[in-house]
């Protein structure tokens, strides 16, 4: 069974600095999708970024970028120029390309604190 591991239960960063959140996953599939979701105190889950495994180029969305290492099965999220609004729980998620969101597997999350 596929698993997603986030080894950092909590992280903190100073405002305007850069932080990297770690995620590793275990799968025997060759084609899949990886996601980072953000859950602020309001509780609503919001998609931050998505990576397709067959694309070697790392995905970026404004201040958010990933370091996707397929061989190492690693998918870290880098947040640049951190802002107070970035404070949230961040969840890494995986799903195989064969099959839809019903196969989505989430990690346990990393709580990010942004210090002013």
């Amino acid at each position: 069974a596929q698993t997603v591991t986030q080894s950092q239960p909590e992280m903190s960063v100073q405002e305007a600095e850069t932080v990297t959140l770690s995620c590793t996953y275990d799968t025997s599939e060759s084609d899949y999708y990886l996601f980072w979701y953000k859950q602020p105190p309001s509780r609503q889950m919001i998609l931050v970024i998505r990576q397709e495994a067959y694309k070697q180029q790392n995905a970026t969305e404004n201040r958010f970028s990933v370091n996707f290492q397929k061989a190492a099965k690693s998918f870290s999220l880098k947040i640049s120029d951190s802002q107070l609004g970035d404070a949230a729980m961040y969840f890494c998620a995986y799903t195989p390309s064969q099959g839809g969101s019903e196969k989505l597997v989430f990690g346990k999350g990393t709580k990010l604190t942004v210090n002013p």
Partner: protein, 114 residues
């Protein structure tokens, strides 16, 4: 455009009571999902639906039931509430059946069973 609306936001139940968590979407998405989020854990799939009239079990379906009579609504029913069902429940939708279509979440329902 409200997106995904869940009601109620909070609820306290006594053991053995029943209730329905409501989920309504106005995005015309075919795919809808119910997740539960336990403290310190990621989300686990309870049930999902690929269209009106079609539902299927997820990873943790025991103690729950769902129905999907319309595209918009996907209620989750707890028949005999147990303390193990204390959790935050999220409804989500997506436009496509492929794994790359992102989920749109509601704001969640915090349920406590005592």
């Amino acid at each position: 455009n409200a997106g995904v609306t869940q009601t109620p936001k909070f609820r306290i139940l006594k053991i053995g009571q029943s209730m329905t968590l409501q989920c309504t979407q106005d995005m015309n998405h075919n795919y809808m999902y119910w997740y539960r989020q336990d403290p310190g854990m990621g989300l686990k799939l309870i049930y999902y639906s690929v269209g009106a009239g079609i539902t299927d079990k997820g990873e943790v379906p025991n103690g729950y039931n769902v129905s999907r009579s319309t595209t918009e609504d996907f209620p989750l029913r707890l028949e005999l509430a147990a303390p193990s069902q204390t959790s935050v429940y999220f409804c989500a939708t997506t436009w496509g059946g492929q794994g790359n279509s992102p989920l749109h979440f509601g704001n969640g329902t915090r349920l406590t069973v005592t």
